[in-house]
Amino acid sequence: MPVEIYLNVAASGLLTGLVYGLMALGLSVIFGVVRVVNFAHGEMMTLAMFLTLVLFNALKLDPLVLMVPVAAVMFVLGYLMQAGLINPFINRPEHSQFMLLVAIALVLVNVQLIVFGPDAQGIRTRYSFDSFKLGPLVTDASKVYAAGAALVVAAALFAFFRFTLLGKAIRACADNYDGARVVGLNVKRLYALTFGIGSACVGAAGAMLMVVSDVTPAIGPANTLLAFVIVITGGLGSMPGALLGGLLIGLTEALGGVLFTPSAKSMFAFALLVLVLLFRPQGILGRRET
């Protein structure tokens, strides 16, 4: 096979990886601050994808525009989930939190199955069949747009956490729970906001992914796993790590798919995870916890 094919596959893997990265960024933000692993992450992602689908069919707007209302709805959902269900679990043992989110995931995925049915559904935009040429590289226009949108949202999120007062307050909660309470921060509310922000990330990523792929309820659990693999590879709690992890996993899966068989591509992602856990359990850009 000529080299161009590998280059093309790698480029497409990297672009998809950026969207994965944004999804994982949501997980990473939530874990970094609330210290709860969102086991319902992929299921929330498919929910966002179905929302995009419903809105697209009703309004005929571009999914990348629909990203805004979808992210807003997911923000509210995430806020309510944290405020209503997860906040009482903050001081419970890890396995107890885990079970809570497994239960939420189970309900989410099956409600989607009942409402939307098990078949794969997709949408077609006017640029679905366009492509860009850059030397030997040919890439889908939709992937380029989705990846571009993912970068914009990620950049906005970085700016929010670095420069705004609210972002700094949330980071303070992440650094020191008791300290944040001592200086008078309403930690529970900030946790709910954080979960909302993480969910909004998933919402945005879901809308983008709708541009490049179909949705079925069954991909929810698979996406949860994918998000885990990405954040652990990049470093749980590290924001640049999540993006880097997304790129790496996107690349690994794409190349694994073309070198072996596409159905075995996820094996390579898991193999990468095992390697990372072996040699750098805190992830590539993660900090060791003490």
Binding site: L85, H95, F98, V102, L106, V109, L225, M267, V274, L278
Partner: protein, 339 residues
């Protein structure tokens, strides 16, 4: 030996267990074919729940990938039987061996490098998923198109080759569940059992007291994996078909651990109570839906999810500990502490 096992068990508890065992023994005489299959399922979940409980309830290591050991056990024994005609009673040696090796590799990777808590749980999922995709492409056992055992007419019970009526499988599973119950009771009272509980409560303190934390965590994983794989062997010969998509799937892992969680993590009776409640309720609801003529896939799982949600929210230690206290059977085997 028996006297030691019975030491400290309250009389009433013993009487209740005896009554339960008697009930389970005579159950097939009255049950229809359908009820018998439900009974088998309950015992199956009780057995696997007991095995999972060794890792989570006794040693405090959360595994979310126990379908790995069920699947490996099922495939190993089934493949040996189909390809070479080897009896499952001999094949289960291979099943247990493969599962123990998988558990040991996982444990070694995790515990050697300090992968704990959430990370450990995700590593267990990753292993199960790796196996699922791997078996999808494993042509010796027909990959994703499924592996089938020859099905014959069940006029006679051939216990040696595990070919027979559901009744035979029911009694086999019952014997295994009783053995698992007794074994777990003995393990919990053994030196290793106390080490496990020390590690569960505080690995640092256990280490400081001179417990070899690595070794005993490894032991917990390997013993749990071996036990779980036995359930896989029976599963394969009972259902006669194996699909990687089903047997290794993450939803199977979750289904397996709901019983002990709802029943009560770390208790001996918890897995049985949980399996009884969940399977009983789910099958009851399925019947009810059938009567009403509603046929929507996913309703059962939504119901599971809501049950789990309610239990983790309002009964953080499961159904059994408060129930046992109410019945005056409590001796305190479960987790009590509030963190």
């Amino acid at each position: 030996m028996i006297a030691r096992l019975l030491e400290g068990v309250p009389r009433r508890g013993l009487a209740a267990l005896g009554a339960l065992l008697l009930l389970l023994l005579v159950f097939p005489a009255f049950a229809s074919g359908y009820l018998l299959s439900v009974g088998f399922l309950i015992l199956h979940f009780a057995f696997v729940g007991q095995a999972w409980n060794i890792m989570m309830g006794f040693a405090g290591q959360l595994s979310l990938g126990h379908s790995l050991y069920v699947g490996l056990g099922a495939y190993a024994a089934a493949a040996l039987y189909v390809h070479f005609g080897i009896s499952p009673w001999i094949g289960l040696g291979a099943s247990v061996g493969v599962a123990m090796i998988a558990g040991a590799v996982l444990g070694f990777l995790a515990f050697r490098f300090g992968v704990a808590g959430v990370y450990f749980a995700i590593l267990t999922i990753a292993f199960a998923e790796f196996a699922r995709i791997g078996f999808d492409h494993f042509s010796w056992v027909q990959g994703s198109s499924g592996f089938f055992l020859p099905v014959a007419n069940y006029t006679t019970n051939d216990l040696w080759n595990l070919r027979g009526s559901p009744k035979m499988f029911y009694y086999l599973m019952l014997a295994m569940s009783v053995a698992a119950f007794v074994a777990c009771h003995a393990l919990l009272r053994s030196r290793m059992g106390y080490y496990w509980q020390a590690i569960r409560e505080s690995p640092e303190a256990a280490q400081a007291l001179g417990v070899n934390v690595f070794r005993y965590k490894m032991a917990a994983v390997v013993i749990s994996a071996a036990m779980t794989s036995l359930a896989g062997v029976v599963f394969a010969f009972y259902y006669n078909n194996l699909f990687p998509e089903q047997i290794f799937h993450i939803s199977r892992s979750i289904e397996l651990i709901l019983g002990p969680i709802i029943g009560g993590i770390g208790t001996l009776v918890g897995p049985l109570v949980g399996a009884l409640l969940l399977t009983g309720l789910a099958e009851g609801m399925r019947e009810a839906m059938l009567q009403l003529g509603v046929e929507v896939p996913g309703v059962k799982q939504v119901f599971y999810g809501i049950c789990l949600l309610l239990v983790v929210m309002f009964l953080p230690h499961g159904v059994w500990p408060p129930l046992a206290r109410h019945l005056g059977l409590e001796r305190g085997a479960g987790r009590r502490e509030e963190r």
